[in-house]
């Protein structure tokens, strides 16, 4: 079977009470999602994204056409067992607490009690809700509910993950985490079908996208191919002297091309994450979600639990999807038994908390030039706190100290950047 999800002229027409056609929500949709790819379904509000997903899962019946999911019918329990689904909002039972919620869904998958318990703890840890695991989810904020929603979609270690607007209501760290998670899962050979209108999310993680309008696919293809500006070249370097800049300008003029030189701005996302993570390292009290430490190892059986901050810093800054840096440590051979990763995880959880990696290997991602390792040493304070060295250090070395202070004094005020 070549495709994880394939639809044939999938059409959904909503009719009114008299049976007259009213809305063509999805119109002759031919969607093809390959195995082991991250596919983004984009479109403005009301373009039929959610309707299409619901037809894939058998929550709506197509007026015409059919959908094949993992080689079968999306409403078949056998297929469902391999799917993780996060609907457009996290529809949760308000009266259950976070742990009970995951337990309920785990039981629907007939997971043995031991496996269930281990996965629940790992997922709670991953989505950063361990501290509030005994609070009814009805009292959760939207973003916290979203995290639980994501955790329930992952409890069966799905082959196909269908995410409908996964990042709505999430703070930037949560958003970043979901993106990292998606990339990580893709690396593990899972297929992800993502549906969103937040273009930044899709751009960062998707291999291929389709843009829906009026229930029809307008454009589809690889993100790189669709977005690459083949008539332009971008060069990123460490800060260099003005003289060097002049020399480069000269060369470019000789090529008879235009150029625009400036210090690259950090992404607000990166900056925000840095601010919050330093607050977390100081263990400031919060009643909300805590940024997590690792992707649950049952989802990623052949890597050890890693420090998420490590991943955050090393994640691609450029719009183009870059391979995850080689910080992955191979600690165990790929396990064949299903419960093994969980057991491994349990022992990991029972160990005293691992200190955060103090010296993550920071990589400066770029497109055309080779990465240049920073010469700058992290400040002694950051080292003592175990805070990761941040990308800003390399880019704006003179302002380093000042900016860090600002970030701490105005923690949470993301407008600062």
């Amino acid at each position: 079977m070549e495709y994880a999800v394939e639809t044939f002229s999938l059409t959904k027409i909503f009719s009114d009470w008299w049976g007259r056609d009213r809305v063509r929500a999805v119109d002759e949709l031919n969607l093809k999602v390959r195995y082991n790819e991250v596919f983004g379904l984009l479109g403005p509000n009301g373009s039929g994204k959610t309707t299409a997903l619901k037809m894939l899962l058998g929550l709506l019946y197509p007026t015409k056409g059919r959908a094949v999911v993992l080689g079968g019918n999306g409403a078949d329990p056998k297929i469902n067992a391999r799917i993780g689904f996060l609907p457009e909002e996290s529809y949760l039972y308000r009266y259950l607490n976070a742990r009970e919620t995951l337990d309920f869904y785990g039981r629907l998958f007939r997971l043995p009690a031991k496996v269930r318990k281990m996965r629940i703890e790992a997922l709670l840890d991953m989505v950063g809700l361990k501290a509030v695991a005994n609070r009814p989810v009805g009292t959760f904020s939207k973003g916290m509910a979203r995290r639980i929603g994501l955790a329930q979609a992952l409890i069966n270690d799905p082959d196909l993950l269908i995410l409908d607007e996964p990042t709505t209501g999430l703070d930037p760290i949560g958003t970043r985490q979901i993106k990292d998670l998606v990339l990580e899962l893709a690396k593990r050979g899972k297929t992800v079908l993502l549906c969103s209108h937040l273009l930044a999310d899709v751009e960062d993680v998707c291999d291929r996208i389709a843009i829906l309008y009026g229930g029809k696919i307008r454009t589809a293809g690889k993100v790189e191919e669709l977005l690459q500006q083949t008539h332009k070249t971008q060069i990123t370097t460490d800060a260099i002297s003005d003289a060097a800049v002049e020399r480069i300008k000269q060369i470019i003029q000789e090529e008879q091309a235009q150029c625009d030189i400036s210090s690259p701005m950090d992404k607000l996302e990166t900056f925000f994450i840095k601010t919050v993570s330093s607050a977390e390292h100081e263990a400031l009290p919060t009643s909300g979600a805590v940024s997590t430490t690792h992707i649950s190892s049952f989802l990623a059986p052949d890597v050890s639990a890693k420090d998420i901050l490590d991943k955050l810093v090393s994640a691609p800054v450029s719009p183009e999807k870059a391979p995850t840096p080689s910080t992955t440590e191979k600690v165990a051979p790929v396990e064949t038994s299903e419960t093994k990763p969980d057991e491994e995880l349990l022992s990991e959880l029972s160990e005293p908390t691992k200190p955060a990696q103090t010296r993550p290997s920071v990589k400066n991602e770029e497109i055309k030039t080779k990465p240049v390792e920073s010469q700058e040493q992290p400040s002694s304070r950051a080292q003592a706190e175990g805070a990761p060295k941040n990308i800003l250090d390399q880019l704006t070395k003179d302002e380093n100290t000042a900016r860090e202070q600002t970030a701490e004094s105005e923690a949470g005020d993301s407008g600062d950047a």
């Binding site: 909503f14 809305v23 929500a25 009301g46 039929g48 959610t50 309707t51 619901k54 899962l57 058998g58 929550l59 709506l60 019946y61 409403a75 329990p77 056998k78 469902n80 067992a81 799917i83 689904f85 609907p87 457009e88 909002e89 529809y91 949760l92 039972y93 009266y95 259950l96 009970e100 309920f104 869904y105 039981r107 629907l108 998958f109 007939r110 009814p136 929603g149 329930q152 069966n156």
Partner: protein
């Protein structure tokens, strides 16, 4: 089964944590003991206990019925309205499993509540006499008439159809028919004549006797007692305090009817009883012959100087089981009712929204609670209409359960046995057939309906 169980426990948690069940539970926990302390009934110990059992059990049954309807409907409609069902049905669970899980949850909740509340009622009923200052006679009365489970036998029915038809023909021939029953249909005249004839058979003029025949009188304890329960009135106006005398003959049918010598003794006594209330005569079970063919005779003694009319035929009662066993069966009868209602709720919720489904279920519940009234009121339709009725509404009403026909409190209050046989019959009809059909229909509808609402 695993996923059905998961849904069931979730449903119970929902009912308890969303405080739907809690309201009902608190209400009952407060009301039942209060009722136990405050009820007085007719002043006797038996009357007090009867009132408590009757009201307590009726209230419990009624509130649990409402609770069952609401919980079973809410559990499913809230999942659909609040869309948790999107995340549930995309898990490896079939739709029928979801419904069965909800049903199981509601039934388990009902089982727990029925056990809990009937235990409270039972305990209060049993312990009230111990703290009561009632006289020995009152205690004996309560023991004989309430703390028991008695079989009651009605007399062998005598076929009077032919007699009535003969009278009808006679009247028709003499032309009196039109005069006596102006503007009535033949059916109505026959009904009226039948009633008249029945009353005639239950009236004894001065010096005349009445005789009732009972088959299969088989008391379990030959040293115990049998009871003759009756109520009579007199013709003409009379104060209810003035006692009316009657000579009662109770014993072997062969002897009393035909004078054939009998091994068993005969009960023969003249007793005064007030009119218009039920009385029970306690007779030693030794008078019952081996073949169980018993005669009960009543002679209107001349001292009365008036016609004595029995409001209904006397009954023979004797103990067949304990109060406790009867009480358990009564609680099971309530449970059967609740199971039916939960199936009904699930069916309604499978295709209706919460308020509509509750309304529909309540209409059916009340119709079932007063089914006798509905059936009788339709029976008196005109000839033309009654034909339409017979083929349209009547089958529907017959399909509905008849809660009033098998009212558990009726059995307990009169100390009448609620046999396992009757319970099984109700179980098969109400739960296996009627509720089963409803559930099946609900499963079918739910399996094929589109779950997601229109969100484009």
């Amino acid at each position: 089964m695993h996923s059905i169980w998961a849904v069931a426990t979730n449903t119970i948690k929902q009912a308890l944590r969303m405080k739907i069940a809690v309201v009902f539970i608190i209400l009952l926990i407060v009301l039942l003991p209060v009722m136990g302390l405050t009820t007085t009934g007719d002043g006797t110990l038996k009357g007090r206990l009867q009132t408590f059992v009757s009201y307590g059990l009726s209230l419990t049954s009624f509130l649990l019925c409402l609770l069952t309807i609401i919980v079973s409907i809410y559990s499913l409609t809230s999942d659909i309205d609040q869309r948790q069902i999107y995340t549930v049905l995309t898990k490896p669970i079939r739709r029928y499993q979801l419904l069965l899980g909800k049903l199981l949850g509601v039934i388990l909740l009902d089982v727990a509540l029925v056990i809990g509340f009937s235990a409270i009622i039972y305990a209060i009923t049993i312990y009230t006499p111990k703290f009561s200052s009632a006289s020995e006679a009152q205690r004996a009365q309560a023991d004989n008439e309430l703390f028991t489970a008695r079989i009651d036998l009605t007399p062998v029915e005598i076929d009077i159809t032919q007699e009535v038809l003969d009278t009808y023909k006679k009247l028709q021939a003499s032309g009196q028919l039109e005069e006596m029953f102006r503007g009535m249909s033949r059916k109505e005249i026959i009904a009226q004549l039948t009633n008249q004839r029945k009353l005639q058979r239950q009236a004894a003029a001065v010096g005349r006797d009445l005789l009732w025949e009972f088959h299969n009188v088989r008391p379990t304890d030959p040293n115990g007692s049998i009871f003759i329960k009756f109520k009579y009135d007199v013709s003409g106006i009379s104060a209810s305090t003035v006692p009316v005398y009657g000579r009662w003959l109770i014993g072997d049918w062969q002897y009393i009817r035909y004078g054939i010598a009998s091994e068993t003794g005969i009960y023969d006594r003249i007793l005064p009883h007030s009119i218009r209330t039920f009385h029970e005569i306690e007779v030693s079970a030794a008078v019952v012959p081996k073949d169980g063919h018993l005669a009960v005779g009543f002679l209107n003694v001349p001292v009365n100087k008036t016609v004595v009319i029995f409001s209904e035929e006397p009954k023979v009662l004797y103990k067949a089981d304990t109060f406790t066993a009867n009480f358990i069966r009564a609680a099971l009868l309530i449970l059967l009712r609740l199971i039916f209602l939960s199936c009904l709720g699930i069916l309604a919720a499978a295709f209706l929204s919460f308020p509509v489904a509750v309304l529909l279920s309540l209409v059916i519940f009340f119709t079932a609670s007063f089914s006798n009234f509905f059936i009788e009121s339709f029976d008196f339709l005109g000839e033309d209409l009654s034909n339409i009725y017979r083929y349209t509404i009547k089958p529907v009403i017959l399909l509905m359960p008849q809660f009033d026909k098998f009212n558990p409190t009726k059995f307990l209050v009169s100390g009448q046995i609620l046999s396992w046989f009757l319970l099984a019959k109700v179980g098969i009809w109400l739960v296996c057939i009627k509720a089963g059909l409803l559930l099946l229909l609900g499963l079918l509808i739910f399996s094929f309906r589109e779950i997601a609402k229109i969100i484009i």
